[in-house]
């Protein structure tokens, strides 16, 4: 086992340089002539000083300690850690996309604008919606845009009494956060025994003070809500709107559309569903899509086509405004566009179907070894719990996740959704081979057996990683993220 990599500050030596700037071709001037004294540092910034080879080795070694989709299986539930095809990177590296200046006039950016325009229309078609804004920078940002659109819609009708947003207890934590940030009071709706929205509780909670319902479908249990048509009627009949959280859209591409289910506004995560990197490799992109009656409130700018020319349009008097500087995360859009174009409609449908098949395959292989709280066919992900294992051996979800690291697998999502005790949320995605799925199922089965035969081995895992079990509570209680130079 290798020792953990030192901080770059710890390998710093005075005077070392990794890069030399060219000779100045203008006369040098003292910084004191150029800046007021209050803006000038009294002491040097204390930046690390390293040679180029030490710099390269440091970051290469760090990258080797990392886990990513290109290293191994990554079944992190509700995150859709699918393989991101390298051709998408080629597209984003085209100089016309990569080097374009954000202030370039529309007439010199026709290719980039055409790509954005076409992506808007592809996403609208996939969602069953009418209009799209590509502005939001990621999923929760898209949620906030959607919530602000719902607020603007009610206010424009002078309907000021709608102060609440309904959210199921299985929702991602970002949903209540976005609603609260949008100025709403959050009302939680319980789930029923099949894992869907408790329709009677929804009916009781729904009245003229409710602005809308935020729903993820399939939800975080990986279950498609069988009552979606009833839910739609209950919310719309009292004047509320339906928001679709697209976090789990990888289950539905080409098979069902939120617009057809009756949703009024949604966001997609291009970085989950449409094959662009995320986590450490982001950034994300969270386009928001609406039905036509909400179009006046979309964030600006959007790309429009007039007389054969593409143009950024800011002409929307009732807009909620800008969500992001410039035009959103453009290069992520290029990657998502490349993904959609290379798969095509049939390929996208097949991707979702394979994602659902893979999830159900793993679920059925491990069902005898773990508790399955909602024993139905799942969509692209599912939730299990080591309930019986925990009761009989004391091995918890955290231990199982840590033990999976010894198998070279990234742990599933832990302890979420909150409505399942000791939840393990598993999303294999469509891009894995049967061998990988079997390897993972075998690992989970082996750990379930090991919990009885040698529980300590599980409770003290991981054993093969560079560092073992970290003191997460200690780190959270005494947060210290600043390196200080030893005296």
């Amino acid at each position: 086992m290798r020792s953990p990599e030192p901080l770059i500050f710890e390998i710093s030596k005075p005077g070392r340089r990794a890069y030399s700037l060219p000779e100045l071709d203008v006369p040098a001037r003292d910084v004191a002539e150029l800046l007021p004294e209050s803006e000038i540092r009294r002491e040097p910034a204390g930046l690390p000083e390293v040679s180029e080879i030490d710099l390269v080795r440091h970051f290469t070694r760090l990258s080797q300690l990392n886990h990513g989709v290109d290293i191994g299986f990554y079944p992190l539930g509700s995150c859709t850690m699918k393989y991101n095809p390298k051709v998408n990177e080629d597209a984003a590296n085209l100089p016309g996309f990569n080097n374009i200046h954000p202030y370039v006039p529309d007439e010199l950016a026709q290719g980039a604008l055409q790509l954005m325009y076409e992506l808007q229309s592809y996403l609208a078609e996939i969602a069953g919606m009418d209009y799209v804004s590509l502005q939001p920078a990621a999923g929760a940002h898209g949620e906030l845009a959607g919530i602000l659109i719902i607020r603007a819609y009610h206010r424009a009708r002078n309907d000021m009494k709608r102060t609440k947003i309904l959210i199921p207890d299985s929702a991602h934590g970002t949903n209540p956060a976005s609603a609260a940030l949008g100025g709403f009071t959050v009302v939680e709706v319980p789930s029923d025994e099949r894992g869907g929205v408790d329709v009677e509780a929804l009916e009781a909670a729904m009245d003229e003070t409710v602005a809308g319902l935020m729903l993820t479908n399939p939800n975080t249990l990986g279950l498609f809500d069988e009552n979606i048509q009833r839910i739609e009627k209950i919310v719309h009949s009292k004047g509320g709107l339906l928001y679709y959280d697209g976090a789990n859209a990888n289950a539905i591409l080409g098979t069902s559309r939120p617009g057809d289910m009756g949703f009024d506004v949604l966001h997609f995560n291009l970085h989950k569903t449409f094959g662009t990197p995320h986590g450490g490799g982001g950034p994300g992109s969270g386009p928001v899509a609406v039905k036509s009656f909400l179009e006046p409130f979309l964030p600006v700018p959007t790309v429009v086509l007039e007389d054969g020319k593409y143009r950024l349009s800011y002409d929307r008097p009732q807009t909620i405004g800008r969500m992001k500087s410039f035009y959103g995360n453009f290069l992520v859009m290029v990657k998502a566009y490349a993904y959609i174009r290379s798969l095509g409609p049939d390929g996208l449908r097949e991707a979702s179907r394979d994602a659902v098949l893979n999830a159900n395959y793993i679920l059925r292989r491990i069902a005898g070894y773990y508790d399955v709280p909602y024993d139905r066919h799942c969509k692209h992900e599912f939730v299990i719990s080591p309930g019986k294992i925990k009761k009989e051996t004391g091995v918890r979800t955290l231990d199982i996740s840590k033990r999976l690291l010894d198998y070279g697998v990234h742990p599933p999502t832990n302890y979420f959704p909150l409505i399942v005790d000791e939840a393990l949320m598993i999303e294999p995605t469509e891009t894995e081979s049967k061998e990988t799925l079997d390897y993972f199922a075998d690992a989970l089965i082996a750990i379930a057996k090991e919990a009885y035969e040698d529980p300590e081995a599980v409770k003290s895992a991981p054993h093969t990683t560079v560092v073992g079990r970290l003191d997460e509570a200690g780190a959270a209680r005494n947060l210290n993220i600043r390196w200080e130079k030893p005296e």
Partner: protein, 129 residues
């Protein structure tokens, strides 16, 4: 798991100690065990008025963030400032040093709605909430 007999309990796993007409409130040993290591406790201010069932504190553990609810109505007359620097007291000593607030009761009859230790223990052992 311990269930002190001098305390009263709620379904949401808070405990109440009645002393001099006031109610000292914290979360139970079972609750702290379910939460895992507590890393932050957000407490209300002295003087806050509470209705029974109202959320008054937030407990953040390495696993999750959970709300804590007032078992009875009244005015907060004391909060446990020690939890600001030492949230681990909730894990280490939930029934003593890990207490959260003291409420001056506005309606002592609400105490009759709470469980005794036997009833609470039975609820937890039968699967709880």
């Amino acid at each position: 798991m311990s269930y002190p007999e001098n305390l009263k309990y709620t379904k949401e796993h808070e405990w109440v100690l009645v002393e001099n007409g006031n109610a000292r409130v914290g979360i139970t040993s079972y609750a702290q065990d379910q939460l895992g290591d507590v890393v932050f406790v957000e407490l209300p201010e002295v003087g806050t008025e509470l209705k029974a069932g109202a959320m008054f504190a937030t407990v953040e553990s390495v696993k999750a963030v959970s709300d804590v609810y007032a078992p009875v109505s009244g005015t907060i007359v004391e909060v446990n400032e020690a939890l600001n620097d030492s949230p681990e007291l909730v894990n280490e000593d939930p029934y003593n040093d890990g207490w959260m607030i003291v409420i001056e009761l506005s309606d002592p009859s609400e105490l009759d709605n709470l469980m005794d230790s036997k009833a609470y223990q039975k609820m937890v052992e039968e699967g709880g909430e």
